[in-house]
Amino acid sequence: MKTGRARRPLTAWAFLAPYTVAVVLLIALPALLNVGYAFTDHTGLTRDPQFVGLANVRRLLSDGFLLDSLRASLFHVALAVPVRLLAAVGLGLLLAAPRPGGRLFRVAVYLPTVIPDVALAVLFLWVLNPLYGPLNQLLGLFGHPGYTWLADPTTARIGVVLMLAFPIGEGFIVVLAARRLLDGRLYEAAALEGCGPFGQLRRLTLPLLAPVLVLLAVRDTILTLQVNFVPAYVLTDGRPANATLYLPVYIFDQVFEFSGFAYGSLITIMLMAVTAVIIVLQLLLVRRWRVLR
């Protein structure tokens, strides 16, 4: 009995060890090094970075490009997270019930998620093309002259959000699964009390899914602040007028284009801080609105 109890934690640690090693070596250690580099003059090319104190922080505070970058990222997260959540939740709830052709639609919704980002971005270069792109042609049907999507700051940002509104497969699957776990009898009880489809959505489905929705919102915030790198690079390369110079793009530019490894490290920390602040704000709202029990 005694040996069994002593052995059990050991076994658990043995199983955890490979993962722990990977997390330490590939995530924790680089993250710590990153914090260290942020206070050096490291270029990424030389061997012996020198400690420079708060020099990078001073640079950060007077960096006009960084301000553009931050603005672009905040605009993006403010638009992309609601749009992506709405799409994932809306489609998830719509396609959760078994109905003819449902399987086909579920596959269709998930499909963009398995397409590589670069391929999707190239596809959107075509979709957003002002001359022969289908989006402008569609607008043309309603008599609208269309936009020069990627040449105008605002529409460029919207174009990126538009592209990222499609790879929503994970959130979609989670909503689908969570909705299917809800007890059908609750809906029957509600129907008996005169609660129609809209009332059921408002009074049952959304409150019951609230924990899942909060989780998805937090996850999508983290994700959205980072995944805009590929579309921005392929579609706009940070332009026009820095409108899509999102933080990950600016970090990449600093680190690999301008050999500012140390400065890039500092912005990475800032990205993390921005993410954390947004999530805290979300959770405060969740508490304020009593979304969760």
């Binding site: 029957e188 009880a189 509600a190 129907a191 009390e193 609660c195 009074r203 019951l208």
Partner: protein, 337 residues
């Protein structure tokens, strides 16, 4: 039994799911203030009847009348019907108060009035101290009371109960049965109560309807159904252990076109009895005992005896059936003759 118009009247109700026939021409009337229990094995269509009356599903054929009005085309909430589900279907994200207010708010009852009515319903069922709890913080019995209170607030013409005691343990079930009956008498509303527990069906119902394979096999007062089962299915379903059914020409006599039945309590141990049998097993139930015997021709007969019988397995006994209590059924159709 029926008044001018019954609270509920089902006319040749039929429903099938794909190839499976759930209901096959069900007729049933429930009078105002009457409690009818629906009993039958699983899959006999009991719950389907409730779901059709509630409007959760539509019948393939037949009519449903509530208070003389055909409700076939009415949505569930316009049918003046309240249902208590097997696992109560309380809204898990709402407190008891929220659960009680739910329907009232949906029906746009003013907040103050809604609160007051919820409070009254809670008082009536003795759950006022639970109002701020969530369903997962309560016992099965408490949840059931909340479900009852919620049904009460609908102020329905008809109550539908779908095995509401299935998840309660035996002593609680016994107590709840009495409470439920008292509430029913007080409300004086028509009630249909589905159960697969025959003891529950017998003790609760003003009348019992026995279902099998989507058909009502017999409806009547519990004792009447027990004493004069309409067919061999009802005879074998009600009573524990069930009625002994013997092919005609066997130990109970009769002709080959008959099946004869005798209940275990209508077989007496009697040294001068006409039947000879060997005891195979004795099940002592405390207040009584069930003796399982086998006759020379292989017929098995269960006999209900007083507690502590002297016979042991292997002993030979003689049995005397009460001749006035031998049931005669048609061998082919199983119907009573």
């Amino acid at each position: 039994m029926s008044t001018e118009h019954d609270a509920i009247r089902l006319e040749s109700l039929a429903k099938s799911y794909g190839k499976v026939t759930a209901l096959d021409g069900v007729d049933l009337e429930v009078g105002v203030g009457e409690l009818v229990t629906l009993v039958g094995p699983s899959g006999s269509g009991k719950s389907t009847i409730l779901r059709l009356i509630a409007g959760l599903e539509r019948p393939d054929d037949g009519r449903i009348l509530v208070n003389g009005q055909d409700v076939g085309n009415l949505p569930p909430h316009r049918r003046a019907v309240a249902m208590v589900f097997q696992d109560y279907a309380l809204y898990p994200h709402l407190t008891v108060r929220g659960n009680l207010l739910f329907g009232l708010r949906v029906r746009r009852v003013r907040r103050g009035e809604a609160e007051q009515r919820a409070q009254q319903a809670a008082e009536r069922l003795g759950i006022t101290d639970l109002l701020d709890r969530y369903p997962d913080q309560m016992s099965g019995g408490q949840r059931q009371r909340v479900a009852l209170a919620r049904a009460l607030l609908r102020e329905p013409r008809v109550y539908l109960f779908d095995e509401p005691m299935a998840s309660l343990d035996a002593p609680l079930r016994f107590a709840t049965r009495a409470d439920l009956l008292a509430l029913h008498r007080e409300l004086g509303t028509a009630t249909i109560y589905v159960t697969h527990d025959q003891a529950e069906a017998m003790t609760l119902g003003d009348r019992v309807a026995v279902l099998h394979a989507g058909q009502v096999r017999q409806v009547g007062r519990p004792q009447e159904v027990y004493d004069r089962p309409a067919d061999t299915f009802v005879a074998g379903f009600l009573g524990s252990p069930p009625m002994n059914l013997v092919p005609g020409g066997g130990v109970l006599g009769g002709t080959a076109d008959l099946t004869l039945g005798v209940r275990p309590e209508d077989l007496a141990l009697d040294p001068d009895g006409p039947l000879e049998a060997t005891v195979e097993a004795v099940e002592a139930l405390g207040s009584e005992a069930i003796m399982l015997t086998r006759c020379a021709d292989g017929t098995r007969l269960a006999v209900r005896t007083g507690p502590r019988p002297e016979s042991r397995p292997g002993d030979r006994v003689r049995l005397r059936p009460d001749p006035s209590r031998i049931h005669r059924f048609d061998a082919d159709s199983g119907r009573r003759r």
